[in-house]
Symmetry: C2
């Protein structure tokens, strides 16, 4: 048989602060033929997500860190190019977790078949995939928005945030999105958010107050930092804070000094009977995945949930794109198109 | 009719830090006769509780602050000495909210009749009253201890903490109490806690680790400060933190400087899928009060929940006793015996 070469991006050092090209190495490896039960995959789309920064650190997190020399992790949409499994056929499009590489050999059971007739295959990495599910489960299970309540979400132009706001509206709540810059705010208005606020504006705090005249009942937290501090001031009694991510802090190299805000925050938790709940979407798969796969595709087809994708061409541009993700440069779900998209 | 004089302790200035005698004034007022529907009460027991410190501050809290000149608030057990209501008779023992004074005239509907045959009347201010209910509802509704889990509570020798640990054991969990000094720790062992740890010991952190070999699943927070910081390090994934009080911070006059611990705490909330939930016991009255009044007296009669009271004689000693409460000097539920206890 012909051997297949895979281009891989591996972690070569744990980044201090923002990851740089020096923290990665690109290598080419010869892949073996798929063994019994395995498939050879060609990567079409690689998803870039903020959680990856956590894997590049040895700090305690919800998942083990990458070892130096590991291929950087990531969810992918791939085409099966060789199969030694009766579960998958050559030409199948699958969801896999093969990371930052052009090809991989994996156990066929670690793939999920996608039907390109159902939805564009890239959506399995975004609105119909992990980010969409994160929004759906975290908002509905922890946030529990009620009709007439106000839901605030930051990074609202991202794939999680934009779904949070749109699902909040489906549930009858008022959706206020926070994003960086006028282009993202315009996108939020197009998505039907009741208000869109630019956190880079000097009038941010006033704009937030004006957009939340009845206070805030749900703050879907995926940012942290000064944006979170401003929203916390607006929280109502019994407000809920699903804590999904803290991207503003992901590159922090040391605990910030100055005022210790923890005692004040805890006093606020007490005085306003707040619920603060960290979560990783996996937790809710058993309870919410079936409903998600039933409701979310319908909402997307109906136009109740819209999305945009930001597609970067070529695996060699993944590092630059990932840096941009951590500084909010992308508009919508960030994907790397690693290989040709099949015509269907 | 004869007029009745009430000795009252009123707030004369908002304390900076620890309240002092200068923040209060003692005055004698002539009370009117009870009007239609009212009763004249003679205070027997006054309850002293940490929440009162919050009422002596204009900082945002869950209840409006006292105005300067107001009688300091507090729950009391009183005897009805005159009645213009068909709801209450002279000689009735009632639970009321008449505060730091020897007598008061109140609407009879704002009293609850106690039956001295059921339990010592002082317990209506402690294990069978608000502190006991706080422990019961906060632990069971937010903490949700499961058999085999580890529950940690600080201020464990206090009326809330001691009930938390003992209810945790009833539910099959392991109870670890934190308290200040060997006398309190000895009390916790007598109450059946699985471990009692002295936070004043230089080996506190090591002792805590040794007492929680499987980590901590529920941390019932009523202290804050360095004790809380040590427990947070031991929290397991999916741990629950009912936030009931933060007595270590109640006298803080400014936000502490140094390291800002909030970002690190939020990262921990995220990485361990923690639930942090502030609460005031009132919230759970509609859902849990009936069960509390059914279960708790039974547990007390059975000896499954034990309690101690720390009784200070004379309203004139309330200020000193309250200072002692804020620094942990009392052992068990702190009460002021304001007037003679009727013999039954």
């Amino acid at each position: 048989m012909t051997t297949t070469e895979s281009q891989q991006i591996r972690l070569s050092s744990y980044p201090e602060g923002m990851p740089t090209h020096d923290d990665f190495e690109t290598v080419a490896v010869e892949l073996p033929d798929p063994g019994e039960g395995e498939v050879l995959l060609r990567t079409i789309y690689l998803s870039l997500d903020p959680y990856m920064r956590g894997r590049m650190s040895t700090a305690k997190s919800y998942a083990a860190p990458l070892e130096l020399g590991d291929v950087v992790v990531g969810q992918t949409v791939c085409e099966v190019v060789a199969s030694a499994s009766d579960r998958r056929s050559v030409g199948d499009i699958v969801l896999a977790y093969t990371g930052w590489q052009t090809h991989a050999v994996v156990d066929a059971r670690h793939t999920r078949r996608l039907d390109p007739a159902d939805a564009p295959i890239s959506t399995a990495l975004g609105v119909l995939g992990m980010p969409g599910f994160t929004a759906y489960a975290g908002l509905l299970e922890i946030g529990r928005p009620q009709p007439g309540e106000t839901v605030v979400v930051a990074a609202a132009a991202g794939p999680v945030g934009s779904a949070v706001g749109q699902i909040a509206r489906i549930k009858g709540a008022r959706a206020v999105g926070i994003a960086g810059g006028p282009e993202k705010c315009e996108l939020l208005r197009r998505f039907g958010f009741d208000a869109a606020i630019d956190h880079r504006s000097p009038s941010f705090a006033d704009d937030l107050a004006a957009a939340t005249p009845d206070g805030v009942d749900v703050y879907f937290e995926n940012v942290g930092g000064p944006v979170a501090a401003a929203v916390v001031k607006r929280l109502n009694k019994f407000a809920r804070i699903p804590v999904c991510g803290l991207v503003a802090d992901y590159n922090a190299t040391a605990a910030p000094t100055g005022i210790d805000r923890l005692p004040g925050f805890m006093r606020r938790v007490l005085s306003s009977s707040l619920t603060v709940r960290g979560f990783i979407q996996d937790e809710f798969r058993p309870t919410h995945e079936a409903a998600f796969h039933e409701e979310m595709p319908r909402w997307v087809r109906d136009g109740a949930v819209q999305y945009v994708e930001d597609v970067v061409d070529g695996l060699e541009n993944a590092i630059d794109a990932f840096q941009g993700l951590l500084t909010g440069k992308n508009l919508g779900k960030l994907l790397v198109r690693v290989g040709e998209v099949p015509t269907t």
